[in-house]
């Protein structure tokens, strides 16, 4: 350290307490002026780069959900260069804290803000009402506003493809699924995984363990161990860490990567990775703002738009299965194949989708049941 910077540090430490006190006083002194003023002073000049911000529910290093979103953010940086300046806040809890973070980002002059977890919906909606000039984008929710729109992936397609592989690879005929929350998105994935497996192996059963969190490696790992102890030998998860894959690796079982390429975390256990490539969507959204063509709405992309995909299929998977997966994927690309095609029967024997009918968006939004082949009941009081 140079002498100058050392002196700087000493000076800093010395004046810190005084400054903290001054800050407090300043804060108290400023109580009088009316509140809306702070919101008015949003953006100074036109020549400045467009400010875009992301908030993540996990750490960016989770190697899963948040990491995939951050790759999308980096794709935006790479694409727009100095025209856009991005920032992010990680590990934002889905409670009262989220509103503060989103509000602060809007006050900081960000013109578009991406909230990447379901629990940010209500907080974002509250903030969106106060900042009509800022565009808000919420992943996986269902509420929108004139300046807040929804985007989502079709991960159930990946889950179906993973199910096809799992159905071929299982020896015990029991698949395991580590679920986060019993919300439609997750139930869709469990159902698609099971439907995929049963399309090649009708006797397959799926067991589910809920962990009630998106990111908690210890609990995810415990849940995976429970499933393995119950005879499951191919695992999939709808949580954000690599723990399930690593647990399968330790036990000599199979598992999949979820949200991003996790092949490095369980070289033997890894069968394939369901990935989401958020980049194209984020680039489009930023482009919409730059061109002034941003409109509210709901965008759900999938395999067709290259938003999500099943990649890095392991060598242990027979070629014939790989071909089958490629064929189904091609069907998803040209819309000739729909995962949820009737007849779909739930695990209590009730028909949920009639024969020869393809599920529409509204049907998929309301999934609240397990398809035949999944064991247990959807946790719910009603």
């Amino acid at each position: 350290m140079t002498d100058r910077s050392r002196r700087q540090l000493v000076r800093l430490a010395g004046s810190l307490s005084a400054l903290a006190a001054a800050g407090l006083l300043a804060a108290c002194g400023k109580q009088e002026p009316a509140a809306p003023k702070a919101e008015a002073k949003a953006e100074p000049k036109q020549a400045d780069p467009l400010k875009a911000a992301w908030i993540y529910v996990g750490p960016v290093g989770d190697a899963g959900w948040s990491y995939a979103h951050d790759l999308g953010r980096k794709a935006v940086e790479a694409k727009f260069g100095s025209a856009v300046s991005t920032s992010f806040v990680e590990k934002v809890p889905e409670g009262a804290d989220a509103e503060r973070v989103i509000r602060d980002l809007a006050q900081q002059g960000n013109k578009i803000i991406f909230a990447t977890s379901f629990g940010y919906m209500e907080p974002m909606l509250k903030v969106a009402g106060d900042f009509p000039d800022v565009k808000f984008e919420h992943a996986t929710g269902y509420k929108s506003a004139p300046n807040m729109r929804i985007y989502d992936a079709s991960l159930y397609q990946d889950a179906y493809l993973a199910g096809v592989i799992a159905g071929r690879m299982t020896k015990t005929g029991t698949l395991g699924f580590v679920g986060s929350f019993p919300i439609p998105e997750v139930l869709r994935n469990i159902n698609a995984y099971t439907l995929g497996a049963r399309s090649v192996n009708p006797k397959v059963r799926t067991r589910v363990v809920w962990v009630n969190t998106w990111f908690d490696p210890a609990r995810e790992s415990e849940a995976a161990q429970t499933l393995i102890n119950q005879g499951a030998d191919v695992l999939l998860q709808n949580t954000d860490s690599t723990a399930v894959l690593q647990t399968a690796e330790k036990n000599g079982k199979f598992a999949f990567g979820w949200d991003s390429d996790m092949s490095a975390f369980g070289p033997k256990a890894h069968l394939a990775s369901a990935i989401i490539n958020w980049g194209p969507y984020y680039i489009k959204a930023i482009d919409d703002v730059l061109k002034g063509s941003w409109q509210t709405g709901r965008t759900i992309w999938g395999v067709k738009e290259d938003l999500n995909d099943l990649v890095k299929i392991a060598d242990v998977v027979p070629d014939e299965t790989k071909d089958l997966v490629a064929k189904i994927k091609a069907g998803m690309k040209d819309d000739s194949f729909e995962v949820f095609s009737g007849p779909i029967v739930d695990n209590a024997g009730k028909e949920r989708l009639p024969k020869d009918q393809k599920a529409d968006r509204a049907w998929k939004d309301k999934v609240d049941f397990f398809v035949a082949g999944v064991e247990g009941k959807v946790p719910s009081g009603s």
Partner: protein, 380 residues
Amino acid sequence: MRAGFLPRFEPRGQPSLALSIASPVIALLLTALLAAVLFVALGKDPWRGLSVFFIEPLSGWRPASEVLLKATPLVLCALGLSLCYRSNIWNVGAEGQFLLGAIAAGGMALWLGGPQGALGGLAAGDGPLAALAGRPLQLPLVLLAGVAGGAAWAAITALLRDRCNANEILVSLMLVYVAQQLLSYLVFGPWKDPKGFNFPQTPTFDPSTWLPPLMAGTRLHWGFVLALIAVPLFWFALFRSWRGFQLDVSGQAPAAARYAGFSARRALWTALLVSGGMAGLAGAMEVAGPLRQLTPHVSTGYGFTAIIVAFVGRLHPVGILLAGILLSMMLIGGEYAQSRLGLPGALTGVFQGSMLFMLLACDTLVRSRVRWPWARRLAP
């Protein structure tokens, strides 16, 4: 012992009062120094880094109101805990009591919300209290329900300690997990919003049960005023009341307390009920204030952070108020550091940890005197 250059620590006859107040300040300065070094190592301007953590969260009424909003539940929980810890009762389950307060208050808000709420079945017609509950009664009922919920949860710990001599540390901690499961059960099950696409959340409460903000445009609510009122009340209760004296004696010298005829059972129940009630109130205000609905994410560990707040604040009400503000400042500063400087989110944890570490280190000075081997003693 003649260690070459290392200082020696001699116990003081009497703990130093000046240093017991100065030690948190020294700890804070050392943390700031460490932070500055870290900023330099991360290639950032240390001055900018420090200002993001310690000045920007208080620059202006709006950010400051967020700091105070975050500090409110921490201060309320920590005040209650200070009473426990001063009477040597180790309640580490404020988090669970907080959650039960939130559940009870949320349940009350839904119930009062009338037939369209998730508790519509229970509140058939216009709600059983519709006649009695004019609008102004709704909010107090919600908050009282929270206090009762938190106190009832703490009462389980008190009962098991009193009757079965069960260790209160374990019982109160384990009850945190029970409370979390109970909350999950309710929001996934009976209290789930029927229009919520199976997402784990209750409907938004009726506006009559919301805790109004202190100022339009901010989220800081009247709960902060309650916390400010609680500080002198706790100071009085702890240091100027007969009951507080009894608690203090039974904490510092149980044998003396017994000899004086102070009831240990009474101390146990008082401390746990009060701290449970305070945590429950904090939980109630969190759901009636910024959240306005129950979700599985009601708390972000307020009850646990409050333990840190209580100790950083030296178990003194005023200290707790300052410590609560300081900790929430660092938390929010951590978010600012990410969005403004692109620093990693883990930094907040590093600062919190190092501040506690420094505090523990500085506390040595309160009870011991440093003797430098090269300094001559002046006294014979």
